[in-house]
Symmetry: C2
């Protein structure tokens, strides 16, 4: 679910997306990534900011650089297709930056779907996959339907346990639409870690049912909240567990069990991912499909509105609006993030992006 606020309170600066993209690419290139890969990572992160998902935007840059410096993210990975079948590939990502590995997967899933009707690309041993919606949207823009999943370490409570057992395991589904693709991108937790951290900073009480404290007890105190709860109890944690099975275990790179057992490998930053593309043109007329998506959107938007919600929104619609606004007006960067990026730029000898202060 997209957030429309800068994550760290008041915006210190407003930056044109192109300038921010160039800055991010410069940083990653300086951190030893090939130019083309640096550009991909920059585009995926800045896209998240444009969509209003600031928790997955340039706020991640310092962490990505740190991961490169500690050896957990490989800036020059030997990405290779390890297994290939008529409709699938298993990609060994060699600790690539998530966006680089996931865009490779997106391309392979599209290629396989064109050949076989459906295409599966499994990615093992990647790093932070960033905003999954970027990849499913890329598939939808090619006229196909997409499902993407990602697995990571345990930070979300498993239903019935007083501790983290599963990851936020996001799921994204996108389909082409007449006007714009529909794109759902959601975590299987009630709330993201980013939102909990935001509440920590503002000090506002969080709703009951959002999180547990360090002892696994329910809390509404944002300073005590440490473990997000799964969405809809056993459904969310069950879905998250199955996502680990269908991505990490099928890709033969277990994450949750390694972390829960506390093995050395389990303490490292690592993720797995999966992209499925379905070539809808094989099953029906693509123009009719787009028309039917629009027709369904129209029917849903014609329902009586719940005044407490104010509006009936489609998956990805708020993000799309924020994208349009921020593409035009620039991306707000908070004081805290600006400071972190400035320090990093100075250390790496990269020019800071031009911005207008607010």
């Amino acid at each position: 679910m997209s957030k429309t606020q800068a994550p760290d309170g008041r915006a210190a600066a407003t930056v044109a997306s192109e300038a921010l993209r160039r800055f991010a690419a410069d940083i990653f290139a300086r951190a030893n990534m090939p130019q083309a890969d640096a550009a991909i990572v920059a585009d995926v992160l800045v896209w998240a900011n444009l969509r209003g998902v600031d928790t997955h935007g340039v706020t991640r840059i310092p962490r990505y650089v740190e991961l490169i410096e500690t050896g957990d993210m490989n800036p020059r990975p030997a990405i290779a297709v390890r297994t290939e079948t008529p409709a699938s590939v298993l990609i060994e990502a060699d600790r690539a930056a998530g966006p680089v590995a996931m865009m490779r997967a997106t391309g392979e899933a599209l290629r396989k779907a064109r050949e076989a009707g459906i295409g599966l690309a499994l990615v093992r041993a990647t790093t932070h996959t960033a905003a999954l919606g970027y990849y499913t949207l890329a598939v939808a823009r090619e006229g196909m339907a997409a499902i993407a999943l990602a697995g990571s370490w345990p930070i979300v409570a498993y239903h019935g346990a007083r501790a983290a057992g599963v990851s936020t395991s996001p799921i994204s589904i996108a389909v082409p639409g007449g006007h714009e693709p529909l794109v759902l991108d959601m975590a299987t937790s009630v709330v993201s870690m980013g939102k909990l951290n935001q509440a920590k900073r503002t000090g506002e009480a969080i709703p009951a049912g959002w999180a547990l404290d360090k002892d696994g007890l329910p809390t509404t105190d944002p300073r005590a909240a440490q473990i997000p709860l799964p969405m809809a109890g056993p459904k969310g944690s069950g879905l998250s567990l199955m996502i680990e099975c269908i991505t990490s275990l099928v890709a033969a790179n277990p994450l949750l069990a390694e972390s829960l057992e506390g093995t050395p490998e389990g303490r490292r930053h690592r993720q797995n991912g999966l992209v499925i593309a379905i070539d809808i043109t094989r099953f029906g007329d693509p123009e009719s499909f787009r028309h039917e998506v629009d027709r369904l959107v129209k029917a849903l938007k014609s329902l009586p509105v719940d005044p407490t919600a104010g509006e009936i929104l489609m998956p990805g619609e708020r993000g799309r609006r924020t994208f349009e606004r921020r593409s035009r007006d620039g991306i707000p960067i908070s004081r805290a993030i600006y400071g972190e990026l400035e320090a990093l730029a100075k250390r790496l000898g990269v020019a800071m992006f031009p911005s207008s202060s607010r």
Copy 2:
């Protein structure tokens, strides 16, 4: 999520699964289904009872027969593969009983996955798909991972609307395990229609956040509750909407828009479904996979237990226990269901199943 109680209060009778299966098959055969198809439908319904999901069990028999009699379910359908690609099929179900169409899809998904690594079977124009977990479990028992989805008419509130806009659109995921497959089978609504109806009968207040009344207002009165809410608000209704897109719209058989617009076709009983199988042996050693599933289950079960939950359960674990108990002790049938089945048996000239009263 499985229910362990008979849906209509006290059990009137306890029936051996084999007798109930024979009875159900006799009924469907008398309603003009070929013996083999009648046996499939009977097995899927009785399996749901064995698993404790009584809302999807033999309680559906009278409705299925009614659907046959009104022409909405075709007892002798011309099921045909309409489109075939190297990794997928689109099956025209011709209004077949859901279990018959979905088992055909399961077989095709398995076949395609064996050939191509991943297999997709889309089913258009089926009827009530019954318990989705039956099909994913069938795939997992063949050593593959599975995802199944189903779309139907709007009965669940769309987030932000005061009316039903999406269906309960269940999602099921299963993978092979060392001991038993893990199988998740969940609706995208907070609560099933069956559970709301159960509350209606007992008169007990329902929790806030479960349902809306006929005017789309939140209610805790079980008699007023009519529209289940989506799980986790926009996540549940967004997921349900995307399931409609990826099953019904890809299969070129829209359900939600037709119903919301009130077209004649939209007022008929109709569903669509989808089964994806992934051949895990292509990507790694299947024995290691099973071992890793067990290892993960063990790690999760070792977490500190939330005393209010009492136990840390895996997806499908409660259903498996109920299955074992009911396979041994018989399936409880409530007075109301017994009466309905007895009346139907009499009308169709089918012998009632032997049972022991409680």
